[in-house]
Amino acid sequence: MIPIETVQKVLAAALKNGADLAELYLEDKDTLSLTLDDGRLEQATQGNDMGGGVRVFYGNTATYAYTDDLSEKALLEAAQAAAAAARGTNEARVTIDLTRRESGLLFPVQRPFDQMSAADKATILRQMDQAARAYHPAVTQVRASYNQTSRRVWIYNSEGVWAEDDREIIELVGVVTAQKGDVRQTMVGAIGGQMGLELLDRDPVAAIEDAAASAVLMLDSRPAPAGEMTVVINNGWGGVLFHEACGHCMEADFITQGLSAYAGLVGERVGPDFLTAVDDGTIPGRRGSIRFDDEGTPSQRTVLIENGILKEYMWDLTEARRMGRDSTGNGRRQSFRHMPMPRMTNTFIAAGPHDPEEIIRSVKKGLYAKKLGGGQVEIGRGDYVFAVVEGWLIEDGKLTAPVRGATLVGNGPDTLRQIDMIGTDEALDGGRGMCGKGQSARVSVGQPTVRVPKLTVGGTDREMTGMMR
């Protein structure tokens, strides 16, 4: 993107005051998004966002200056601004040998985005809209969106790292509203991936029809019960459970200062011996995947928990340098305007030994969380929540009645220890996860069907709790 001689000049300028490490990050992002709502293609937006930043490390401090002007002059000014506060004793280097890192990872794009016109992409949204409305007369409103992002990044640092990545992301999201009398329900159905137009072979109409089915079903649902009960969480997007219950607690910026409930527990048993959980940034086709993270570290498959034993956390360069170890390639940033921090990629519980149908049959009285919304976590204690948008009562091992949205509350360390059944049906979500941590990152979540003996369900219905008082 810019001449290598300019990169070297910028890095040298950043090291002028004796900093330990200097980094230049460049980014070029193109997006196209289309939204159909209320039966009309209403929004069609495209644009480019290009810029870069210079980060200077000295001791435990990093300063960062960014710019949307990628001329040599502007980048040198950024380097000077970032270096201004650095106080170190390192010798300023005049030349830095940059060696381009190659990645063996293939994230193929079979059909690039420009092979289909925006008008044809809009047609797909119209098909989704028609299918959702035709699904059932109770469907009263539909919103369908198409989004494509091409994000190219270049990372160089004064230790000789030179890495490039090109992330092509395509997403289709449908939001269906159904109504019966004065009762309204909405449901989201989405598919997405890191690939080209071949995502469209995955039947976006099926995804929005599924949302329509759920929304209509929920019109006749009962309020969810309130109180403690056994909960079975569906596979795939059910992985929001692990993402919230443990994932954030295992990000190194919450670990190294001892903040997280999981700090200092490497080598300890945290769950049953049939529980293995992984963060894997190398999986082709997934929105959370990266060849290199946004600091130039190659991504990897990191085993977080193996057979119930905590093995590893997720690291970026800042925390890795603090502890004198290597990054795991989890240093991600939302854009060139942001500094990196440890973020998840594709995070999931691996397949276990139990038959998924047996898991449901095993529950005398409880809740099946078939579809989840989002969640949140308090990382000091590990208390987490997630929303159930489509639930089913389980009575004597059978799904009996659909129940409406409720928040489920648990404690991460406690939940992991409690999990007593993990299904063989490991799956990742269909491609819709956005994780927020002050900045946003695309992620995947996943798991098999999982049984947790006791979680608190936040419904409004007293009857089903079976509590005697």
Partner: protein, 448 residues
């Protein structure tokens, strides 16, 4: 650089192609400082700029953006917007507004101190905030992500109907996580403050609130499942009110996506409930002289003593209903087209103090924090979140409570508000949302 001239070039190119056009330019600079254990960990400073171009031709809208202001880039972006407009469906209600007189108001949204203050003063703010948290209670053991951030922005808006305007604004804010621990328990609490002016945020107050809340919640346990009264602290209610504001837009009403649809003129809330949206609030985080389309800012009384009497409009929804925009077009950045949203949205404060509201509760839960407010559904009215707080017994605060859920349908919640206190504060949860302490009866607490 003459930003009005750049904006004008967009208008000229578009009108030559028989289109209406709007050019939005945002120029800004931002500072972000994170401290830990008395030292700066991360410091970031930069300027930014962006241009967003909206065109409408025969009722079809296209949008393009760029941060490259060279003539060739601006021309390409305008062409891209025009090409994309052809992809959209025609809609007779999709037009740009004619210029209307802007209100004369001293909005107090620009503080020159934020531009002139040296970085050292901002670093010092973050360090004082951290210290205040650590000193708030002997059980506070550490802080994390203690951050000061500020921004200075100038917005320029020009459209082909003759509107041309600009304004400056600033914000300064800080937040941190404080962790408290004792032999049996540990927990993290957030502290947060944000304002348009430097002098209006207090490092000591933010840090102390976070430290105190973390310490006082130690030992919190669930309580038995039961229906009870809830008293919300402002920090715990802001997310709920932010979700509620989405149900009060004309777009949600017109498109069947509000639990309040069809209830105009009806009693939808208790008499003590009045909700307002005011884009002219002096010092308001969302205050501005004109909205993202150039329509004048205004104040709208949405629910008045329990009666739903108005909703929020932008130009498009106003055209649909044959009325005027309330000036509620917002914009997330130059990369986004305008959208209908609340500005400074708040529950009108009452007369009682928060202590008096708590004292009036025989048995209930004083909620100081909730999680998962982004699950609140303004379409269905489903409301179920987790809560932390203190049990109230005969008007007195008692033991800390943790890991419970609180749930009640939103339509019932509005009707069940029985007391509103006088301590209105604004927080950035889902917009610029203002809440005082208030009480709701008949909430289902999910616990043991």
């Amino acid at each position: 650089m003459d930003y009005f001239k750049i904006a004008q070039s967009v208008i000229e190119q578009a009108t030559a192609e028989a289109a209406e056009a709007e050019a939005y330019i945002a120029i800004g600079s931002q500072t972000n400082i994170q401290v830990q254990r008395g030292e700066v960990e991360k410091l970031s400073r930069a300027g930014s700029k962006g241009l967003g171009i909206r065109v409408i031709r025969e009722g079809k809208m296209g949008y393009a953006y760029t941060s490259d202001f060279s003539a060739s880039s601006v021309q390409r972006a305008t062409t891209a917007a025009l090409t994309l407009a052809d992809v959209a469906d025609a809609d007779e209600y999709r037009t740009l507004p004619e210029p209307r007189p802007l209100p004369e108001a001293d909005l107090q949204i620009y503080d020159p101190a934020i531009a002139t203050l040296p970085t050292e003063a901002k670093v010092d703010f973050a360090l004082r905030m951290e210290t205040a948290a650590l000193q708030a209670d002997p059980r506070v053991v550490m802080t994390n992500r203690a951050t000061y951030l500020d921004g200075i922005a100038t917005v320029y808006l020009v459209n082909s109907k003759g509107f041309s305007g600009s304004y400056d604004s600033t914000f300064a804010g800080a937040y941190l996580m404080a962790m408290a621990a004792d032999e049996n328990d540990r927990g993290v609490a957030f502290g947060l403050g944000v304002a348009t002016k430097w002098a209006e945020i207090s490092a000591e107050k933010i840090g102390q609130e976070a430290g105190e809340r973390a310490a006082k919640l130690l030992g919190g346990q669930p309580i038995p499942t039961q229906e009870a009264s809830i008293v919300y602290a402002p920090f715990a209610a802001a997310g709920l009110l932010g979700a509620l504001s989405q149900a009060l837009t004309a777009e949600a009403m017109q498109r069947n996506r509000s639990f309040l649809q069809g209830k105009m003129g009806q009693d939808v809330a208790a008499d003590v409930v009045t909700f307002l949206d005011n884009a002219l609030l002096p010092g308001g985080m969302a205050s501005r002289p004109f909205d993202a389309e150039g329509n004048p800012s205004s104040a709208t009384r949405l629910i008045n003593e329990g009666v739903l009497q108005a909703v929020l409009y932008d130009a498009y929804t106003a055209n649909r209903d044959g009325t005027d925009s309330t000036g509620n077009a917002g914009r997330m950045s130059h990369r986004h087209a305008p959208f209908l949203t609340a500005s400074n949205f708040y529950l009108q404060p009452g007369q009682q103090t928060p202590e008096e509201v708590i004292a009036g509760v025989d048995k209930g839960l004083y909620v100081v924090n909730t999680m998962n407010t982004h699950s609140i559904n303004p379409v269905s009215g489903d409301y179920s979140v987790s809560a932390q707080g203190f049990w109230i017994e005969e008007g007195q605060l008692g033991q800390p409570v943790n890991n419970v859920t609180i749930a009640i349908p939103l339509d019932k919640l509005l009707l069940n508000v029985t007391a509103v206190a006088n301590d209105l504060i604004f927080l950035p949860f889902g917009g610029s949302i203002g809440s005082p302490t208030f009480r709701v009866d008949g909430v289902m607490i999910g616990g043991t």
